[in-house]
């Protein structure tokens, strides 16, 4: 390479070095030099009329742009932030109540365990524990899988030529809907899952997966994307059977046709939280086990043998 007048190794980086090392307009230095040569002080007066006029103009520019560019707090914007505030307050209250209920339940369970033990009602205590597990009020741990579902990435729609007419119809098919989660969860149950939670919310007999417009709710709680569906089941067969059944193929078709992201991972151990606030309001048992007399009498319950078919899922 021939030697250039500058010859510096970073000559090609003048843009960056100029920017970082000489941020001050070189005009100042040049003007100062020429003034010094002419015998004047290097800096000009700070009070020239030109400067003052421009200071006023700059002030006006800053103020005007600040006002023009500020996000307008229109009436809609204010209503929305009020709604968001109320939702957050309600959510915080619900979380606090859930923790409170969980605490109360464990206190009650402890008191009951002692009392039942004293009354030789160990059988009742065991039965209660078994039903708590079956109903989903206790946290469980075990091998399983996690399916993380998320909307299609924003730029997928523009590349997919089929997406445009659908978008024009006003429906964004790249967004995950409640039906999608329902079908995936249905597939997991069919594949033999023993417990499932969505974003940490346990699915019980009373938990519903619904939509409110674009938001998905589980058990009346709105979810934030991505949606993590956790399931515990037979490590050897859960993922395989899910992939084979209607739920697995539905997820696959979502991924292929709409670009929806669905990442399936098997895990050696996952924790699924329980739903402590599970109770009844309207339903009553046909045969109550509450005894009217002394605790020594046996309580009446339906026998475990039932007349109708009770086939499990797998043939």
């Amino acid at each position: 390479m021939s030697a250039t007048p500058r010859g510096r190794p970073d000559a090609s980086m003048t843009l960056i070095t100029e920017m970082m090392q000489r941020p001050l307009d070189p005009g100042y230095a040049a003007a100062a030099e020429s003034r010094q040569k002419a015998g004047l002080p290097p800096a000009t007066s700070h009070h020239g009329p030109l400067l003052v006029i421009f200071a006023v103009l700059i002030g006006a520019l800053l103020a005007t742009s600040a006002m023009a560019l500020r996000t307008p707090t229109t009436a809609t914007g204010q209503i929305k932030s009020a709604l968001v505030g109320r939702i957050e307050a309600s959510r915080a209250h619900a979380d606090a109540q859930t923790r409170f209920i969980a605490g109360l339940s464990s206190e009650i369970n402890a008191a009951q365990a002692t009392a039942l033990g004293q009354q030789s009602q160990g059988g009742l205590a065991t039965e209660l524990a078994g039903l708590e597990i079956a109903a989903g009020t206790v946290s469980v741990i075990g091998p399983g899988m996690v399916i993380t579902v998320d909307d299609a990435p924003a730029d997928v729609g523009s590349k997919n030529p089929n997406a445009d007419p659908q978008k024009a119809a006003g429906v964004d098919l790249g967004k995950v809907r409640d039906a999608d989660l329902q079908i995936i969860v249905n597939g997991l149950w069919m594949a033999g899952a023993e417990a499932i939670s969505v974003n940490g919310h346990r699915l019980t007999a009373r938990a519903a997966i619904r939509s409110a417009g674009e938001a998905i709710l589980v058990n009346y709680r709105s979810l934030v994307r991505p949606y993590a569906i956790t399931a515990i089941g037979d490590p050897g067969s859960l993922s395989v059977e899910f992939a084979d059944n209607a739920g697995g193929s539905y997820l696959q078709s979502l991924k292929v046709n709409y670009g929806i992201r669905g990442d399936i991972q098997t895990r050696d151990s996952v924790v699924i939280p329980g739903e402590p606030a599970l109770s009844l309001l309207a339903a009553k048992p046909v045969q109550s086990s509450v005894t009217k007399e002394t605790p020594a009498t046996t309580f009446g319950r339906t026998p475990s043998t039932t007349p109708q078919q009770t086939t499990e899922t797998s043939p």
Binding site: K80, I183, G200, R206, G213
Partner: protein, 258 residues
């Protein structure tokens, strides 16, 4: 910082980076250290706030109508939790006070047994609710339709549900069976009869909302009737599920992520 060059304390330049790091990590009570700790604390706080803000941003990007619906759900959840908490508190106070003692504990345990039995599907239940009959002679009903119906019923507060002779529990799944629908492996015969115990009015309205079950069934060309009942019985039972892979965790349930 010590500058001695004894064999046990080599000069700073000769120390390995890990040793230098360890030296820096040792806590010293200097003003600079305290200030640095304060700044690190603020940084951590800012990160946590930003992460939380990220979760909340999800809400702000929604439409107003969606936010109203979410608020309705959140309010409903709050009121249910409040009621649940009050009942549990009464029970707990009775147990702990010891005044009613043993009999109260037994009664509370038995009542809980009853409730859990209904929820787990091992006990028959009765109460107010609705009966839905779907007449589908041309076999147009698909599993996802019934799945959606069950979810809608649950959202409307259904506490015990059965379809045909099969009890619906948390782990219930709908599948295709020939030309019809199977619930938990049992083929359902049409006309499909759904019994649900809960608030009859709420559940009945939920079935009639635009785009709801009634609309979907009629759109397929089949017919549907929804009847409110003041007392009906859900008599189908589900065998007690005894999980082989899910073991209970002794610690309390962790706070759920939104």
């Amino acid at each position: 910082m010590s500058q001695s060059s004894s064999p046990t304390n080599p000069p700073p330049a000769a120390r390995s980076p890990w040793a230098r790091l360890r030296l820096m990590a040792r806590p010293r009570a200097t003003k600079a250290n305290a200030f640095a700790a304060l700044l690190a604390l603020l940084l951590g706080f800012a990160v946590a706030t930003q992460v939380h803000q990220n979760q909340v941003v999800g809400l702000e990007s929604l439409r107003q109508s969606d936010l109203v619906a979410i608020l309705d759900n959140a309010t409903l959840l709050s009121s249910r939790l409040d009621q649940n908490a009050r009942e549990l508190q009464t029970t707990r106070d009775q147990l702990v006070s010891g005044s009613t003692g043993d009999a109260a504990a037994l009664k509370a345990a038995q009542e809980r047994l009853d409730a859990l039995g209904v929820l787990a599907g091992t006990a028959r239940a009765h109460g107010p609710g609705i009966q839905i009959t779907i007449d589908d002679p041309r076999a147009k009903v698909i599993p996802t339709l019934l799945l959606d119906a069950i979810e809608e019923l649950r959202d409307a507060g259904a506490e015990a549900i059965q379809v045909g002779d099969v009890r619906v529990v948390a782990s219930s799944s709908f599948g295709q069976s020939g030309s019809g629908v199977a619930l938990d492996g049992t083929k359902l015969t049409q006309p499909y009869s759904i019994l649900a115990i809960g608030d009859a009015q709420t559940m009945s309205s939920a079935m009639e909302i635009p785009g709801g079950l009634s609309d979907n069934v009629r759109g397929l060309g089949s017919s549907i009737t929804v009847t409110q009942r003041s007392d009906l019985t859900v008599g189908a039972l589900h065998p007690l599920s005894e999980p082989r892979y899910a073991r209970p965790v002794p610690s309390p349930a962790p706070a759920a992520t939104p």
